[in-house]
Subunit: 462 residues, 2 copies
């Protein structure tokens, strides 16, 4: 996942419409045998992640690797009895990484681990050598006078704690999302940020940055947390001496290249009813193999759809959307919305927050469909998933649903270790915990089974 | 640490000469106030590690970075009231890393994280592209017929578990130490090994490899564990198709360059008595900042010497030896032995196994000096350090003592997470646990205080 809207958006609280006692009364065990079995036996999601990370690996948006990922996914969906499998192409602007090196030149010469941020400009092969100015927070950078960074490299640090709900992405994320643009607007020749992440390995966290209209892009990279801390210690020890950094980042813009959304369906008994849309994204950043972000999400939604079908053909069609090019600007989500503008959607869900346990369930129809909401809450309670008063807003790949005001459910995953791995080389298969992934699939199965067999329209609350 | 002798050498067991009840009776609390205070208050060792990792960073043997490390260490020793501080130079053959890239070309194209092994040959800038042959163990490679690897890249995997005593380094280490040479002798054009390590991050473990007399060196690199596992899964999924890898490793031999050993002393009241030698190594591999391996060891021995001096001038001189060029062939240890061939040593100890807690105490004079042994055992017992029946053999930096049959003590540190960090980019300051490091310093202080005030010669057992 990359889209910051999820965490940056204000969340309105509504009264919880469920009677907890009622949910508990029903929650003596799962009433869905497929979900129950998935909890102990599902291998579909893990196999999906293992397959695509081993046979394709990184799948950066707009590259031939992403295209191989789509071919792989189409084959997988077809082999797993999905129908109407298709690769829906779209064009996008593509940025790719080049050489990347950072080193302190003086007074404490040593290399630092760095990765360019998506949309970073190039330093050219000879690099940029300049004095570093340290901002402990994004707010400190905001407070810097106009023009004060002329000829300097801005170093934006910040503190970030692991959170179960991932909410600190909204807190620390601006350093990456708009920090380089802000530094450029004040004259900086380059920006390095403390990675937006929570682990202490020498693996920088990449991710997209955006330069505001009228701001010329500058080179921008993320330091690993150990390197960012080291740089801060250098400032403490420099006794006023300038700290000079050499930065070599040579990313390139490839211009327009092709990406695509892969879709597949479990066709329902009544194809005239709007489908249940289950989304994830198939692209990944280039540094890791995109196991947590987001092969797992695609494995989860595909496994849930298959498990629902095991109980017999559902009433509604279940459509899976493996979106392309999420990480670099939600290209796939936008393309899907444009291509399917005239098709109704019953309800949309997205899985894009790793592969760990689901612990909370939000919807945007708690008040308007209390009966359906209660049934879903009761179905997920046996798996340790609590209802909440939050209003579901969905993620980046179901923009189509959010924009239209469609019904949405958010199955909130435990994100405590998500930002240890997010956008790093460490996002690999070995990080998947099979037991947590099975619980995740079980919950998705239970929820999808209810939604796909719901005969009435699902209207969100006003 | 690199020297494999520590774990590869057979260890003779002797009867335990201490009466545990007697040790327990004395172990109601530390009798050494300096050690006791170090346990809760020592900052010397941590500050040493913080200083050198921040102000110097990586200190690869024979490079200008190692030379800056020696200057830094000399200044530190002088500022911390050591006397006879010196940099004792020696010449060595120096190998340095170049570009390094590995990628699977077919059938499952993707990049793999790799680091060249010390003494690896170069592939040249265009790299080598060849079929990979998979050996699950070193023994499997040994069993391969002569000539069977002609034109191939050997991939040597192995299983390795974390161990408190680090003993699995001896079990898994041959894959790195002699695997590439063995593969070359059977015709291989290059070798990639599963890193000799226990973590699952995308940080390969470098380290030296040795080519046997008459075997032409070939390019040799280590894959991170996630990458090695990925490659194994590719073999499982290839259905007999050849797996082709492109490898670019361009290390260079710099020829002879200068390194040096840094020494310093707390001069004793009777300089005619042989000194207590406390050793560590100052060089590090280039990928990390060498915090665990082995800035911590130098911080520990220097802190212990200083704490002993706080109680007043000791009887014997305490000499600290910050050896140079340990990682790439024990050059400093050999140079020290040659330069100090005529000087007696009372007893030698080395710290080169990270910064975690000391849990066991071995000596090679348990039977010959039972009284001294008992006093040391009693002094360390309050810190949770148990005596053992193992015979101390020392480490790489006190070869001089082992070769001469000098008394040796091994203060065994907890190595459970040592091979998560060993020779990786992740060997950085943040991995130091200050509480464990203080315990370590306290134990060294208690032991050094006894040894530096021991009037009698300390003869090892026969």
């Amino acid at each position: 996942m990359d889209f910051f809207r999820t965490f940056a958006a204000p969340v309105a609280l509504v009264a919880l419409a469920i009677n907890p006692a009622e949910a508990d009364a029903q929650a003596t065990g799962s009433t869905n045998p497929q979900a129950e079995r998935a909890l102990s036996e599902d291998t579909i999601a893990y196999d999906f992640v293992e397959g695509i990370t081993t046979e394709v690996g990184p799948r950066q948006a707009g590259t031939e690797a992403e295209a191989r990922g789509r071919v792989w996914a189409e084959r997988w969906l077809t082999a797993n009895d999905f129908t109407n499998v298709a690769d829906e192409p779209f064009m996008m602007d593509t940025w790719v990484r080049g050489e990347e090196e950072a080193e302190i030149v003086s007074p404490f010469a040593q290399p630092l681990a760095i990765a360019a941020l998506g949309n970073s400009a190039s330093t050219g092969p000879d690099g940029i050598t300049a004095e570093v100015v340290y901002f402990p927070t994004y707010a400190a950078l905001q407070a810097a006078p106009e023009g004060s960074l002329a000829g300097k490299i801005a170093f934006i640090s910040h503190a970030m704690s692991p959170t179960q709900d991932g909410s600190q992405y909204g807190f620390a994320g601006p350093a990456r999302w708009t920090g380089p643009s802000l530094a450029a607007s004040k004259g900086a020749v380059a920006t390095v940020i403390r990675s937006v992440g929570t682990d202490y390995h020498r693996n920088p966290h990449t991710g997209g940055t955006t330069f505001a209209e009228g701001v010329e892009p500058i080179p921008a990279g993320a330091l690993s947390l150990p390197d960012a801390d080291n740089l801060i210690r250098m400032f403490e020890r420099a006794n006023g001496r300038a700290i000079t950094m050499k930065l070599v980042l040579t990313p390139r813009l490839l211009g327009e290249t092709q990406s695509g959304n892969v879709v597949g369906e479990i066709v329902g008994r009544d194809p005239s009813l709007p489908p249940v849309l289950l989304a994830c994204h198939l692209d990944s950043w280039d540094l890791g193999t995109g196991a947590f972000d987001d092969a797992a999400g695609c494995g989860i939604v595909a496994a849930a759809a298959k498990h629902v079908a095991e109980a017999g053909q559902p009433l509604r069609t279940i459509r899976v959307l493996f979106a392309g090019a999420e990480e670099t600007g939600l290209w796939g989500s936008k393309a899907y919305a444009a291509a399917h503008a005239d098709e109704p959607i019953a309800v949309a869900l997205e899985s894009d927050f790793g592969a760990d346990r689901i612990w909370r369930f939000d919807s945007n129809f708690t008040e308007s469909n209390p009966d359906l909401y209660r049934r879903i809450a009761a179905a997920v309670a046996p798996f340790g998933v609590a209802p909440s008063a939050e209003v579901a807003t969905g993620g980046a790949d179901i923009n189509i649903a959010r924009e239209r005001g469609t019904a949405i459910i958010d199955l909130q995953q435990d994100g405590t270790r998500y930002f240890d791995l997010h956008h790093t080389p460490d996002d690999t298969l070995d990080k998947i915990d099979p037991a947590q992934l099975r619980q995740n699939v079980a919950v998705w199965t239970a929820v999808t089974a209810i939604l796909a067999n719901e005969p009435r329209p699902i209207k969100p609350s006003e």
